[in-house]
């Protein structure tokens, strides 16, 4: 899932300082799962913003709604009735996709309440870890199921750099060396010889460097 993290209340307050009435829109997708932008967080943010403005003697009116997903036009249509003329600003609590989908659909000022972080999963309650670099061409079959693109700090495709020591990455003792993990796993699986293959220069055109990507499934398109 996409893992996101809330901006500070002060930062969001600054983004909407000129507004008198805001629509706070949550998302029922990934950001609900990672406890950053679901219905509960919408309620918490809206009330915090109101309290802050109350203190400043500049009351703020909030309208709260949470869509099933902000990354789908079908649900975006449902926002129409909430985006009234008196709404000065929309605060999106989705990932960057949701913010953009609102901006594309409505002529309203939209601000992000979250920082979109990465594609990852829950490691334990309250801890999420990055697992995928969204590079568009998966190499996990060559590396024992551990992604060197995103888990190696230098995205090395051919083994650990000189900075790997005691299983840790040179940048931080808290960061595991992806290539140590790959080596250990390949060894355990009896596949070490596979790590002798020289992985050629990667085709990054399938990653972000090819411009915004699109996936087209003609078989499911409605004519």
């Amino acid at each position: 899932m996409i893992v996101a993290q809330g901006k500070s209340i002060a930062e969001v307050a600054k983004l909407i300082e000129d507004a008198n009435k805001v629509l706070v829109v949550g998302c029922g997708g990934c950001v609900t799962v990672c406890l950053a932008g679901g219905e509960k967080e919408v309620g918490v943010l809206a009330s915090a913003l109101r309290m802050l403005r109350q203190k400043e003697n500049k009351p703020l009116e909030t309208v709260e709604v949470t869509l099933s997903r902000q990354c789908d036009p079908e649900y975006m249509d449902m926002l129409e009735k909430y985006i009234t003329d008196d709404i000065d600003c929309v605060v999106s609590m989705a990932c960057g996709v949701g913010v953009q989908f609102i901006a594309e659909r409505f002529d309203k000022w939209v601000v992000p309440a979250l920082n979109t972080k990465f594609a990852g999963g829950a490691m334990e309650h309250g801890v999420w870890g990055e697992r995928c670099g969204l590079c568009g061409e998966c190499v996990l079959h060559k590396t024992g199921g551990i992604c060197p693109i995103i888990r190696c700090s230098k995205s090395i495709l051919n083994g650990p750099c000189g900075g790997s020591q005691d299983g840790k990455c040179e940048i931080n003792q808290d960061v595991e060396c992806a290539w140590q993990l790959i080596y250990d796993r390949m060894k355990k699986l009896g596949q070490l010889d596979k790590l002798m293959e020289i992985e050629p220069a990667k085709d990054w055109s399938k990653s972000r460097d090819g411009g915004p990507r699109k996936v087209v499934r003609e078989d499911v398109m409605i004519p």
Partner: protein, 307 residues
């Protein structure tokens, strides 16, 4: 001859080569590079010019190499994959070749979080092994990475790569060295050796695989100035091990700098006897002026002539 560089010729002659290292300054005045080149030219066969060492902005390795060439010392330019994509790298390599550079050392580069621009965006379009392969493809196949043919004058580089016998996973270090050699590395410079016992174990594996016969292995050394520096490196420099015995020896020394030189000289004498070691690379970071003393004391002066 692949490059016709002095370094390559000396390797071919079977000489025990000596290379040094010059760290370019963090400003645009090349005086210190020229000064160090003058000082080293009689004592080393070639000198590395570091490429934004520790991710700190400095005069580029290629520009520095030109200053060094002006002093009649042979440069080895370092090229990291941290700061440039394959277009920038190949362009810079063509530029370097056009300016008379004949030796290139391929590296990943220290992570940018250690340098003076920790908020910068790193590149890592290629990794260091892919860079070695790219250089070989340019030189031997006269092709760019994309496969397009070079119309004329392909760069004639002696290709260097690095190995760190002190990094982990230890057993994989030799496999990775073999990958670098298979990718096209002609010579290898190692990380600074302090833990000689671990280095010997690594060399055993290198010899078992016959890698010393496929590429020239040059052992990296660093003269210590004080026990504090030794302790600091052991603790803070990634992929470096300084054994307690060396730290203690430095601590007990009356003249720590002289002791540092003595340790380095002993290491050279030990390495000269080790099968498969083709030379030493002396990295006297911010202490370049000590290199001539070390070379003389180790009995490696004067340097051999190219026949």
């Amino acid at each position: 001859m692949k490059s016709g560089s002095r370094l390559e010729k000396l390797f071919e002659q079977g000489e025990f080569v000596v290379s040094g290292e010059i760290g370019p300054p963090k400003h645009s005045n090349p005086a210190i590079i020229k000064e160090h080149a003058k000082m080293l030219k009689e004592y080393v066969d070639a000198a590395n010019l570091t490429d934004n060492q520790t991710a700190i902005v400095r005069i580029s390795s290629i520009a520095s190499a030109v200053h060094v060439l002006g002093e009649e010392l042979e440069p080895i330019i370092q090229m990291t994959v941290r700061d440039r994509n394959r277009i920038g790298i190949q362009s810079d390599l063509l530029g370097a070749a056009s300016l008379g550079v004949k030796n290139v050392l391929c590296l990943s580069g220290d992570h940018q979080s250690f340098g003076n621009h920790p908020t910068s965006k790193n590149v890592h379009d290629l990794d260091s092994i892919q860079l070695v392969a790219a250089l070989k493809q340019m030189r031997d196949d006269k092709q760019f990475v994309c496969g397009e043919e070079m119309k004329e004058s392909e760069p004639q580089f002696l290709i260097g790569a690095v190995a760190n016998p002190f990094g982990d996973p230890f057993e994989y270090r030799v496999m990775r060295l073999e990958k670098k050699i298979n990718a096209g590395a002609d010579f290898i410079q190692t990380q600074c050796i302090f833990d000689m016992e671990r280095f010997e174990r690594w060399m055993d594996m290198v010899r078992e695989r016959g890698l010393h016969k496929k590429a020239k292995i040059v052992a990296g050394l660093m003269p210590l100035k004080s026990h504090k520096a030794a302790r600091y490196m052991n603790k803070n420099v990634s992929g470096m091990i300084v054994p307690d015995s060396i730290i203690e020896r430095m601590e007990k020394a009356e003249d720590p700098k002289a002791e540092g030189v003595q340790i380095c000289v002993e290491q050279i004498q030990h390495l000269q006897k080790m099968e498969g070691i083709a030379g030493v690379h002396i990295m006297a970071v911010a202490w370049e002026e000590i290199i001539p003393t070390i070379v003389e004391k180790a009995g490696l002066y004067p340097r051999p002539k190219v026949s």
